[in-house]
Assembly symmetry: C2
Homo-oligomer: 501 residues x 2
Amino acid sequence: MHDRRSFMKLGAGMAAGAMMPMVASAKCGDEPTQWDSEHEVIIIGSGFAGLAAAVEAMRKGAKDVVVFEKMGVYGGNSTLNAGQACFAGTELQKKLGIKDSAELMVKDQLKSGRGIASETLLRHSAELGPYIYQMTKDCGCVYRDHIITTGGTSATRSHQVVERSGSGFIRPMLDTARKMGVKTFIRHKFEHLIRDNSGRVIGIQVRKGYHFGHEESGELINVKAQRGVIIATGGFGYNINFRMAQDPTLTAEVGCTNAKGATGDGLIEMLAAGATPVHLAHIQSGPWASPDEGGFGYGAGFSLYNFPHSIAIDRNTGQRFMNEIADRKTRADLELQRRDKDGNPNPALLIAPKHEAQKDPSMHNVLKYNVAWEFDSVEAIANHFDVPLAPLKKQIDDWNGFVENGEDTQFGKRMDAGRGIKLTAPFIVQRLWPKVHYCQGGIQINTKAEVLAAKTGKPIPGLYAAGEVTGGIHGVSRLGGCSTPECMAFGVTAARSIMEA
Amino acid sequence: MHDRRSFMKLGAGMAAGAMMPMVASAKCGDEPTQWDSEHEVIIIGSGFAGLAAAVEAMRKGAKDVVVFEKMGVYGGNSTLNAGQACFAGTELQKKLGIKDSAELMVKDQLKSGRGIASETLLRHSAELGPYIYQMTKDCGCVYRDHIITTGGTSATRSHQVVERSGSGFIRPMLDTARKMGVKTFIRHKFEHLIRDNSGRVIGIQVRKGYHFGHEESGELINVKAQRGVIIATGGFGYNINFRMAQDPTLTAEVGCTNAKGATGDGLIEMLAAGATPVHLAHIQSGPWASPDEGGFGYGAGFSLYNFPHSIAIDRNTGQRFMNEIADRKTRADLELQRRDKDGNPNPALLIAPKHEAQKDPSMHNVLKYNVAWEFDSVEAIANHFDVPLAPLKKQIDDWNGFVENGEDTQFGKRMDAGRGIKLTAPFIVQRLWPKVHYCQGGIQINTKAEVLAAKTGKPIPGLYAAGEVTGGIHGVSRLGGCSTPECMAFGVTAARSIMEA
C-alpha cells in the first residue's frame, strides 16, 4: 500500500496536497527537485498579449523578462487574422474626421455582449486604446491610412497594419522586445504552475524542447519567477474535446480559423489551479469565412473589406437575409440557417463590385486560390450558383436604390462615407459559411489582469493573465477587431501590475 | 526561505504537487495525516441525487454507504420546489390516456436546450424515468392522480407528489435509505478530494460539526472511500460572487429561489481537481416567481398550476405578451422586458379563474400570504393595478373565444384536455417577476456519471457526480419538472457505476 505510506510520511499540509494535482498531471513523478532557471517576469505565449506584456514590462524597468512559446514559431494564433485593431480616439481617426470615443466603443461592445459583457473590463481596455496604438507604432508597426468599418460598430475604428495580417504586429513587437533585452524561447510548453504554501505562484514547470503533437517530447524544467507569471496562452478553438463539451455541434468536421496550437492548455491548467471559469460556452464563429479553403484563409480578408459595400444573398431566394455589417453572432447565426431542402449547408453568396473590390489586394488572392470567382453579369451568377434570377436582379436594383438614397430600408445597414458604392458588373463572388474563430470564455481577471480564484473571488498571488485565455470581457459575442487591442491592453496591464506589485 | 527548503526536501513528484492545491485551500496545513474513518461508498449531498444514489447503491449490494450533508437539515435545495417530476411512459400516464415517450421528452428538452443540450445524457435520463418513478413509489412517495402540464412540453408528463413539495420525495427516500442501512450525517461539509499518486480519488476531507456561514467551524477529518465518491452538492444559485462572474446582472439584489446552501462548493472543488466546466453562464430564472415574497415561496406553486388556463398580462398594454406555457427562458426573458416608462420593473399579472384555481390548495396559501389577491371584476383588476380597462376586457374576451374554438390564435398555446377553461370572475391575480432558480452549468459527466477531466476528456478514477452540480445536459434552458428526475437518474447511475467498477 505504497500510496498510503507516502501519504502518512508527508507532513500535515503536504498530505492531501501532494495528491491533488495528479489529475492535472500524470507526470508529476518526473518533476525535478530544484529550480533549473530563474527570471524576474515569466510570460507564457508570444501572441499579442504576451509580447505587449514583454515590451511594457521592460518599459516599466524590468531587467529580466522571459517569453516561452510552445510552438516552433512565435506569434501563435495572433498571426492569423486581418491585422485589424479597433482603437477609439486616435490621431488617425481625427485626421480622417472620424468622431469616436472609448465610451462609444464600450457601448457598441456591451450591445454585442448581450447583457453579460464586463463593462469595467471593456472600459479599461478601450481607454488604453490610444496608448496601445502609439506603443505598436513605437515598435515599428505601420498602419494604413484607411480605417475599416467592422460589424456592430457605430464608428469606423478598425485600424489595419499594411501587411493586412497579425504578423504585421507580431514581427515588429517581437523584434522590439528582443532589442529591449527580453529573452524568448520557442518549443517551451507550459505544463504547471508552482506555488508556495501560501498559495502564491512562484514559478512554472516548462517542457523544454517540446514538439507540438508529441506531448511527452522534451524535458521538464522548473523555472522560478521573482515577480510573477503572466499567462497569455490564447483560446481553445482547436481543442475539439473541450469545445464540444461546451457546444456538442462543434465537431472535428466544423472548420476553425485558429492556429493549431490554440488548444487551451494554459486555460485548463489555471482552472486546475482554482481560477474562475467564465462564459466558456460562448464560442464565436466567424461570419466572413469561406468553405472553399481551410482555416482563416484569404476569404476572411476579402469579405471583411467588402461587406460594407456588398450584399450577402440566400441562394434559395436570391434575396439578402441580413445586415452585412451586423455583429458577428447575428451574421453567423443567420448564415448557418441557409440550407438546401434536405437541410444541408447552402452557403450564402457575398457579391462585391469588382471596381471597389480591386482596391484591396485581398481580391488577387481569393481569385488566385479559387476562394472567389469573377462574373460579368447577374445572369452568370444566377446560372453558376443556381440562384433564382428575377429576385436576384431585383435585389441588386433595390440595393443600388438604397445607395442612391443613402438609406438601406431593407436591413438598416449604415450607408455613410465609403459605403455609397453601387453594385455593378463585373462582380466578385465569395461563398460564406462560419468557422470556429474565437472563445469569449476563459478565466476571470480583474482590471489589474490578476487571476481570480473561484473559491474566494480574490486574486491568486503572483498569477496574471491576458488575451483570449481570459473570459467574460466580451460576453456572448465579441466585435470584430476588438480582440487584438484587448489582448495588448491586458498584456500591458499585467506587466504594470507585476512591476508595481 | 522556508518554502524553498521544504520544496527541496520533498521527493520528486511531491515537489510542485505539494504546492499546487493551496489556492483550493488555504487550510491544507491543518489537514490530519491519517484516515479518521472509512466507508465503501461516500455520497456528498442529501438532495434528490444523493438520496437516489444511496438507495440504489444499497439495492446493488453495497454494505457501507454514507451520506454527508453540510446543512443542519437534510434535502438541500431539493426540498424547495413544487414536488413535480417529468416522467415519460408511466403507468399513470397510460391510465390517464396520455401518449408519451422518452424520445418525445428528449425532443422537447433538446428544443429548450437551443442546440447545445447533450442528447446522449438527456436520453439516458429520460429512459430511466419509469424506473425512477417506480423507485420513488417503492420508497413511499405518493403521487397525485392529476398529471400537470409544464412549459415547453408536447405531452402532459409532470408527475406531482401529494405534498406538492420536494419534501414529498426527500422524506420517504431518506427514511428508506436509513432503513436500508445508509449512514447519514448533517453538518458535515465536503472540503477536499483526496487522491493517490495515480490520480484516483481515494477519499475526502470533511469539516465535521460545520455550521453554515461559519467556514472555520467544526473539525477537519479525512474519510477514506473504498469504492468511490459521489458528489451531489447541487448548484451555485446562492453564490453571488460566482454567479455574477457568469452574469454581472445577477447581483445580490436579484431574487433567488434556492436554499441558502446552494453555494457551489462541490462544483468549485471539482474544478480545482481538474474537472471540465460546462455551460456555467447559462443560469435559469423561474418565470413563475412572485416579487411579493422571498425565495421559491407559494406563488410558484400557484402559477405552475394555473399557467395552462390563465393569461399573463402586461400592465402597460392590458394585453398578453407570451404563450404562458412556453419554455422557462422564453417566458423569463419576456417577463423581464415588462418595464414602466422609467425602465423600472413592472411585473406582469397572471389572471386565473377562481373556479379552477380553487381546485389546488396553492390558492389558499397565496391569498393568505398576500402573494395573490381576489377580484370580482375586470374593472377591479384594472383599477387596482392601473391597467388600461378596454384592452384588458377585450383580451379576456379574446381568450375565452380561443377556449371555445380550442385554438389560441394569439400565441399558439396548447388548448387540449384540461386547458379548455373559461376565464370568468371572480379572478385570482398574482404578479410575475423572475428569480434565479437553476444552474444549467456545472461539471461534465458521461452516461456513467463519471466526472471527466478537462485536460484529457477521460474520467477521473473514483469520482462520480449527479444532479445540479453537473452541467451540459439541459443546454441553454432546462424545462420545468426535468431536474428532479435527472438528479435521481444520474444518482442511480453513479451508484450503479460505482458498484460495477
